[in-house]
Amino acid sequence: MAVIALALACLGWSDSWQGLKETAKTVNTVKAEFVQEKHMKILARPLVSRGAFLFKAPDSLRWEYKEPVESVLVMHNGQIRRFVNKDGQLVEDAAAGLQSMQVVVQQITQWLNGRFDENPSFSATLETGPKIIMAPREKALARLIGRIEIELSEQPAVIESVTIFESEDSFTRLVFQNVTLNTRLDDATFSVIK
């Protein structure tokens, strides 16, 4: 293990797919805040949201928006659920949009496990920056997502930002801040919503 860590330190954790996977193995939990900007040509100004992002390996995730609309999306034991603040109370959502979110959340957990290059729907390219560009393989998917750009931090195992391009003038950018790794996160964080 020490040898791998040393090798990664010399090479840079994000120089190869193997480096990314090996580094991800050292991460059990991720805790971060985020600022999300939705850009669209028609918008007078971007829609800005803020929240918190929590991950516990292998596939538990909590994606929580605190403003402007409070909502919590959780995935735990393969089950995805969303709760929304309605008149001061968090109520469960059963929207049709949740199905598409299942795909997105599964994709994110795959990234957090370092498996950027293992998605059959996207081809992944590792570029200097360091940055990963993911392009859809199928035309049908390309109509929905043009590409995804993932900027990696110099800090091992940390993603700095994710930008999802629906088209060139419509994209969503999430910038992660105050990222901490391997802090203790109880399972209840991903299943009990309050």
Binding site: Q36, K38, M40, I42, L43, A44, R45, L47, S49, W63, Y65, P68, V69, S71, L73, R82, V84, K86, V91, D93, A94, A95, A96, G97, L98, S100, M101, V104, L144, I164, E166, S170, T172
Partner: protein
């Protein structure tokens, strides 16, 4: 539980059978436009509105979405984007007399859905293009502004105090099709555009029927200053 379902069904039946009520103390078309009941209910100028949408669908299914509406009252044009709460676009269409879908993900990719969304947006945000407008009062004393449209539909705007109003759409057979309830805060902050509701509830009564509850997140005036307007139309 069965009793409750039966009651709800009976309630729905009563509502869907509700016909066009007779107006009392009717004022003719002359001067109707100046009646306060015919004004102040629609955003004037160009606006970008962001709402959370709680949709109640057949089968007791509920879901939450975000709705972004960019509209121009002068041009009677609108762009509507429906997103997940995380900002992923599920539906994007424009209306300028005709509906054009820019982008749609299943199950939002049905042209009939797009037509329905835009019809609801027009009902909520645009002053009716009436062939004839009259005013009067309902049996309960509420003031009504009645718009008779060229296609035979009727839109009643019912004022219930300063902070609540209802838009009621009747078909050409005078059967009630849609109810839109708009509410404003009792004490809106200074500068708040008062043609824009804080909460909107739309009930579609014809089968399969649905209910949308819109909560205003933000309202941004767009375009040059003189095209915005903050008041009535």
């Amino acid at each position: 539980m069965k009793r409750l379902v039966l009651l709800l069904l009976m309630g729905g039946l009563v509502l869907s059978c509700a016909g066009l009520p007779t107006l009392q103390q009717t004022t003719g078309p002359a001067g109707a436009e100046e009646n306060p009941a015919c004004q102040a209910l629609y955003p004037r100028g160009k606006w970008q509105l962001l709402h959370t949408i709680e949709a109640e669908l057949p089968g007791n299914r509920k879901g939450f979405l975000m709705g972004l509406t960019r509209l121009s009252s002068q041009e009677r044009s609108a762009r509507c984007v429906i997103m997940t709460l995380e900002g992923f676009v599920l539906f994007d269409a424009r209306y300028d007399g005709e509906v054009k879908i820019e982008r749609a993900v299943a199950p939002f990719d049905n042209p009939a859905f797009a037509q329905g969304v835009m019809a609801d947006i027009c009902l909520i945000f645009f002053k009716p293009m009436a062939d004839e407008t009259t005013t009067g009062k309902l049996a309960d004393g509420a003031t009504v502004c009645r718009h008779r449209l060229l296609d035979g539909h009727v839109i009643d705007i019912v004022q219930r105090g300063d902070t609540l109003w209802e838009t009621r759409l009747y078909g050409s057979n005078h059967r009630l099709m849609r109810i839109v309830k708009g509410t404003r805060k009792e004490n809106p902050p200074p500068g708040a555009p008062w043609g824009i509701a804080d909460k909107i509830e739309l009930t579609a009564l014809e089968r399969p029927g649905y209910k949308l509850a819109l909560d205003l997140v933000e309202a941004i005036p767009i375009g040059p200053e003189d095209s915005r307007g903050q008041g009535v139309e």
